[in-house]
């Protein structure tokens, strides 16, 4: 009966160890996968920059060059976002004014941007252009067309320039990163509305621009934009040396924090610098705490199991002291008696491990969920996440990995992505693989060895003469 009790107690301790091991593995895998997916991007935006509305003082080429020269910086994708009003281009936006148009139509006096590409951008402009709109009802509007000047068109095309999806070049080619030509890659919707194809031309800021490629991102909104060389946009929009955003790639994920700190230090109050890694780190804080808890609990359970076995074996040796003395008197060598007790403790451990392993697998999933939920509930992860979205573009915009969303107006990449990410943080997959089995075996060995050591030491110290004299 006592043996059954020892096996059950050991089984419970080992079950706790196994479930903690599985929980720890599940959380570690989740953390690794999230970290791997966040990449090495750091977003740099002008201070006060507020997503769709823009704002803040643009960065300069010199500041971007300063970032390029920092250690551990692999690449910097700089961009300038401008808007073309109907007076500045012969293109028609495929995006209808919708609700915003109605608002404007209802009497709100919005200030259109000037042709110089002011950083105050409403996204709407009177179709007559140029002048301040009156408050008269029935006034007609057209949506402005967003132009993104980039020094990294290839990355922009494959990295999701608009955040809502990944652009695919459907025809033509991308322009060179250092190009200064009047060339553009246009979104499919814009091309369709304006019957543009590779080789077509359109006017912008009074210049003729040649279409060298057409991309498709799967979103009408994102397909309504124009990608052009950075220096071309800077020149045409009279925004020389201005940059409205940059995405910095660190050379290694472990250097992201260091590079972020260096950029922040260099640009001081000129820019908001955020990295997905740092944001993810705060998001992952609950999982990290679960990982820590499970690690400590794991070792605690293993130590507890070893102690249980140790005390049980000491108790058994003490109870069978006379038997040990008799065996020694009969000529049994210490190793023979010790082997017998090790066999007993090993039997306890094996049975306890079997019970514990099966029970541990069975309870690992609910325990992991409970730990993650409890940990998440006690943190402000959700609030921290909201702050992140705000910092990276305001409202529904985000930093966009792979391509710096110039004004943040359309790029909702991270905002949308992390909305899903937040929901999947607690969705952990628990499984017991070979490594779990190996660790379970290792724990069992540790438990058996520790549990037997003191008992065997006690056995060697038993003197048969003393035991038999006490009859």
């Amino acid at each position: 009966m006592r043996s059954v009790g020892v096996v059950i107690i050991l089984g419970v301790a080992i079950a706790l160890s196994i479930s903690m091991l599985i929980a720890r593995d599940a959380v570690s895998n989740k953390i690794d996968s999230v970290r791997a997916s966040t990449g090495t991007s750091i977003t740099v935006s002008p201070k006060g920059f507020f997503g769709f509305q823009g704002g803040g003082t643009p960065l300069t080429n010199k500041e971007i060059e300063g970032i390029v020269s920092l250690p551990h910086v692999r690449a910097v994708q700089a961009s300038l976002s401008e808007r073309l009003s109907s007076s500045q281009t012969n293109l028609t936006s495929p995006t209808p004014p919708g609700f915003l148009g109605q608002q404007f139509d209802g009497g709100n006096s919005n200030t259109s941007n000037s042709s110089s590409g002011s950083s105050t951008r409403s996204g709407l402009t009177p179709i007559t252009g140029g002048s301040t709109p009156s408050n008269t009802r029935g006034f007609s509007f057209a949506t402005e067309i967003r132009v993104i000047g980039t020094n990294s068109p290839g990355t922009a095309l494959v990295g999701g320039a608009n955040g809502g999806g990944t652009e695919t070049l459907t025809s033509g080619k991308a322009f060179n990163a250092t190009s200064t030509g009047n060339v553009a890659v246009v979104g499919a919707s814009l091309a369709s509305t304006n019957k543009l194809k590779v080789g077509s031309t359109f006017t912008a800021w009074g210049k003729t621009i040649t279409v060298v490629g057409v991309y498709n991102s799967g979103s009408t909104f994102a397909n309504s934009e124009i990608l052009m060389p950075l220096s071309t946009v800077q020149t045409l929009a009279s925004a020389t040396n201005e940059v409205t955003g940059a995405t910095v790639q660190a050379d290694n994920i472990s250097n992201v924090t260091l590079v972020t700190t260096e950029i922040t230090k260099d640009l001081d109050s000129a820019a908001d610098v955020t990295s997905t890694a740092s944001t993810v780190a705060s998001e992952l804080a609950p999982l990290n705490s679960v990982q820590t808890i499970s690690t400590y609990t794991l070792f605690g359970a293993v130590i507890g199991a070893a102690l249980i076995l140790l005390l049980s074996m000491l108790m058994i040796v003490r109870e069978r002291r006379r038997e040990i003395g008799v065996l020694k008197a009969l000529g049994a060598p210490n190793r023979s008696i010790i082997a017998q007790f090790i066999a007993e403790s090993t039997t306890f451990t094996v049975l306890g491990s079997l019970v514990g392993f099966l029970a541990g697998i069975a309870i690992s999933s609910p325990i992991t969920s409970a730990l993650v939920n409890a940990s998440g509930g006690s943190t402000s992860a959700s609030q921290g996440f909201g702050g992140f979205v705000h910092q990276n573009g305001g409202g529904f915009t985000g930093g966009g990995s792979g391509f710096a969303p110039p004004s943040g107006g359309f790029a909702g990449g991270q905002g949308f992505h992390f909305g899903g990410f937040r929901n999947t943080l607690t969705q952990l997959h628990t499984s017991a693989g070979w490594s779990t089995l190996a660790y379970a075996f290792l724990f069992a060995v540790v438990i058996a060895v520790v549990g037997s050591t003191f008992a065997t030491a006690t056995i060697t110290r038993i003197r048969p003469a003393e035991v038999l004299r006490s009859e």
Binding site: E323, L327, A329, L330, G331, R463, L468, E471
Partner: protein
């Protein structure tokens, strides 16, 4: 032949040194039944422990058939106990979770008796002490006190030791059973040509021995 010469053993206690065995010397032939009689605390159990190499003497020698044993190391003492001496205890001290047969086989195992002959030898010994095969398969708790002591005698003689040390072998038995056990010890000692040393405080048990010694305050002397 057992030859003990000037054997001494003292214990250091808070009250001072206790001389448990003082200059003990005697000889006993093979096949003899020797009784050592003495009151509690007289030193008879200590003498038995010294002869069984469960304890080490401070001085003196123990010789069995010409082999000096007192200076053996731990491994040598273990080997001696397994092969050349058998123990019989007042409380029988059988291993409770083993059957009578397994208890006897255990002694054969420790003495490196040929594995294939252990079963037959153990059964022979149990038959010799008057236990049939059915009782041989019982565990100690299903045997009477006398039967348990018979198993202990079979175990002690199984490996054909040269010396049997019996500590109050009748102490836990009624007079009639105790008498039978002493007779059994005497006959077995003669048959197996083994020296049997009985420590007892019972004069009637001692009276059946071939030679009798009395121990008082550690001093051993032969009596008629």
């Amino acid at each position: 032949m057992l030859k003990v010469d000037h054997l001494q053993k003292s214990f250091r206690t808070a009250a001072g040194d206790v001389h448990a065995v003082v200059e003990a010397s005697f000889m006993a032939d093979s096949g003899q039944l020797v009784a050592i009689i003495g009151a509690s605390g007289s030193g008879k159990s200590t003498l038995l422990s010294l002869l069984g190499l469960l304890d080490t003497p401070d001085a003196g020698s123990i010789e069995i058939n010409g082999t000096e044993l007192a200076q053996l190391d731990a491994r040598g003492r273990t080997k001696y106990r397994a092969q050349r001496v058998g123990f019989i205890f007042q409380a029988f001290n059988l291993i409770p979770n083993l059957t009578a047969l397994e208890n006897v086989k255990l002694a054969l195992e420790f003495s490196n008796w040929d594995k294939k002959d252990r079963g037959a030898r153990a059964l022979d010994m149990l038959t010799m002490v008057g236990l049939d095969e059915e009782k041989a398969r019982r565990r100690p708790n299903r045997l009477s006190g006398g039967e348990q002591q018979r198993v202990a005698i079979a175990r002690a003689f199984a490996a054909q030791p040269e010396l049997i040390l019996a500590d109050e072998p009748t102490g836990s038995l009624d007079r009639q059973t105790g008498q039978k056990i002493v007779e059994l010890l005497r006959s077995t000692a003669s048959r197996e040509n083994t020296t049997v040393l009985i420590v007892t405080h019972d004069e009637k048990v001692a009276a059946q021995a071939d030679r009798r010694f009395e121990i008082e305050d550690g001093v051993l002397r032969e009596i008629d």
